[in-house]
Amino acid sequence: MLPIIILIPVLQLLVLSYTATFEIKNIRLVVVDHDHSTDSRNLINKFSGSRFYKYLGEESSYKQAENDIAAGKTDQVLVIEPDFEKKLITEGNASVQVVTDAINGSAASLMAAYAVSIIQGFNENIVVHKSPLHYHGLPIDVSSLFWYNPELNYITYMVPGILVLLITIIAMFLSSMNIVKEKELSTIEQLNVTPIHKLEFIAGKLIPFWIIAMVDLVIGLLLARFWFGIIIVGSPLLLLSVAAVYLVLVLALGLFVSSLTETMQQAMFISWFVLVIFILMSGLFTPIESMPVWAQQLDKFNPLAYFVKINRMIMLKGAVFNDFRKDFFILAGYAAAMLTFSILKYRKTSG
């Protein structure tokens, strides 16, 4: 059992960090070029030279290209109208069409945005080249600085959140299933008739899991540093302190779940049910700010939301205690309340 508790989180950290990405790279593009002019070919070259795109080639008709999308062979199609170059020169206006496979809605809007920005860049380029006397480029120059993660490495962003996910899963499942196992095996009755105090019993059950989860966190942090190269900008001790409080909350939740169930199967399902909701809404994969107001209000009860945010703040931006003290106190209060509540509930059912 012990190797599993250490090994599985490590594996999950590695696998999950590489899979959990919404980055768009290597957009497959098919072009339908009805013009075959210098300008159209230059436009196509802009796409094939872009690091976001994987240029697959041309189709001779739109129908064939659309079929490629249907068959899953390409993500996007660029259609260049006939007389594209001529229209640009004589009328100053020409059109292209960008067709995107939008089953993945958010990916599609990003892909469309990339395509538009490449076309706009090409647009500005030919304008500057063809009429240098009249036009000096756009009057406003915009430059962007990316702080904390200049290489826009998605893994850097995900790993802190995934660490939270992992220790939460371990703590929750261990605590909810272990106590129910005693119930199932009826050893709990034997324990109940001993003079051991209920609080001692619960502490005896939860403290080892707390230690295991903390150890997993430390292992995860070491992996983050030495495998993924993520440097903890803030104080690791601060991080571990917050984690200590957070884990009390999660273990208390697991305890609560176990008091509601009779079999291990039920405990596992309910834990999983609750966890999935918490995970999806925690801001780990999708931003909390984008959720509707009612969801954000519900999120105030989501422990993961707090710790994912604090963890990222400490690890990636070097936050100090003052920066998140309000959230910390809410977390601590929540933990105390949950622990008390679960202990009280447990007493009644075991009695």
């Binding site: 919404f22 600085l145 702080w147 509707p292």
Partner: protein
């Protein structure tokens, strides 16, 4: 055999907690994905450091804030305020205007805007960067270039296929269906068969004149029924609450689902032959089947961007192939000609699992 079926149904229904989860889980997930979870960026808090405070900078700021992407957190007074604001997570972007902005545009023909983004979340940073630049560009074209019209302009027409309104549910429902079918058919089946083993009643059943195949089929039928009911509920919900259509053939969809169901069942039976206790069956199903399926099948995260090793791993996930089939039927509305390969793969997996299960079962019987 019907006695087994009845007994199993009774057992399932008495366990109301599991039932709630089985039916409640997909409902909750669909609701979440449909209403709450989205990758779109709205209401991002930004700050403005306006060193110029003239007509142009105020107009640009106004344009930014009137879009639903941005909310003004505050106006900054100095560069030093940026770092703490980022650290506290209060803002995601700072827009810095150069001093004498409007004057510089008139006299030098160029003025400078600096965008500083909190790139700890690179996706959001990229999107906000693109939005900001887009709004500034639009302003430039409409307000600043009127005197001198831009000589050449390419119109871009954007078409979104299959999902015009870019609803995120479309992406997730196929995955939810796959996971639920697998959960009920594979995981619960394996647990229920192992339960008999654990309780020792399996041996009793095996020495009875009833053929083992009948026992297994009898145990498994209730889960087939449950899966199917769940599938129909999910489909109805998606259609009527979220407008997710079934553009292809509904009977084909049900037939492919049945195939996938049978495959999951065979997988569940296989797992049960490999487990001695319920806990083992649960752990095996959870960590070797469910979790990898959720992560690697293309349910939430696109497979195309994963490293090669994980892409290969994803190919052995039966869920991956089924998700492709569902998307093809429901959203692309194409016929089996487009996914006969995936169908064959699932068929092949089913046969493989059944053969392996029979072999293992016979080996154990001989012991």
């Amino acid at each position: 055999m019907w006695a087994f079926v009845k007994k199993e149904f009774l057992y399932i229904f008495r366990d109301y907690r599991t039932m709630i989860i089985l039916f409640g889980m997909p409902l909750v997930q669909i609701m979440l994905f449909g209403f709450a979870i989205t990758n779109d960026i709205n209401n991002a808090h930004i700050a403005v450091l306006d060193n110029s405070k003239d007509v142009v900078t105020r107009e640009i700021t106004q344009k930014l804030l009137s879009s639903h992407y941005f909310i003004l957190d505050r106006y900054l007074k100095s560069y030093q305020e940026i770092k703490p604001a980022f650290r506290r997570g209060e803002i995601k972007e700072v827009v810095v205007f150069q001093n004498d902005f409007a004057k510089k545009i008139k006299t030098e023909g160029k003025a400078h805007i600096q965008l500083i983004l909190d790139a700890s979340d690179p996706n959001t940073a990229n999107i906000l960067d693109a939005y900001t630049k887009g709004i500034i560009n639009t302003y430039v074209f409409h307000n600043l270039l009127q005197g001198r019209k831009i000589p050449l302009h390419i119109n871009v027409q954007n078409t979104m296929l299959y999902n015009q309104e870019l609803k995120s549910v479309f992406m997730f429902v196929p995955g939810i269906i796959t996971v639920i079918l697998m959960l009920i058919s594979a995981m619960m089946t394996s647990i229920t068969i192992v339960r008999e083993k654990e309780l020792g009643t399996m041996e009793a059943l095996l020495v009875s004149p009833v053929k083992p195949a009948i026992i297994i089929i009898g145990k498994v039928i209730p889960y087939v029924v449950l899966s199917f009911i769940n599938l129909v509920i999910i489909l109805l919900l998606s259609q009527f609450v979220f407008g997710m259509p079934i553009r292809g053939s509904a009977p084909l969809l049900l037939a492919e689902s049945l195939l996938f169901l049978i495959m999951s069942l065979s997988l569940g039976i296989l797992i049960s032959t490999a487990s001695k206790t319920q806990q083992q069956a649960m752990m095996l199903s959870m960590f070797v089947l469910m979790l990898p399926t959720i992560l690697l099948s293309g349910f939430i995260f696109p497979i195309e961007n994963m490293p090669l090793a994980l892409r290969l791993l994803s190919d052995i996930m039966p869920g991956k192939w089924f998700i492709i089939i569902i998307k093809n039927i429901m959203l692309k509305g194409v016929g089996i000609a487009y996914f006969w390969k995936e169908t064959l793969i699932i068929l092949g997996m089913t046969i493989a699992f059944v053969v392996m299960s029979i072999k293992r079962f016979n080996i154990r019987l001989d012991e």
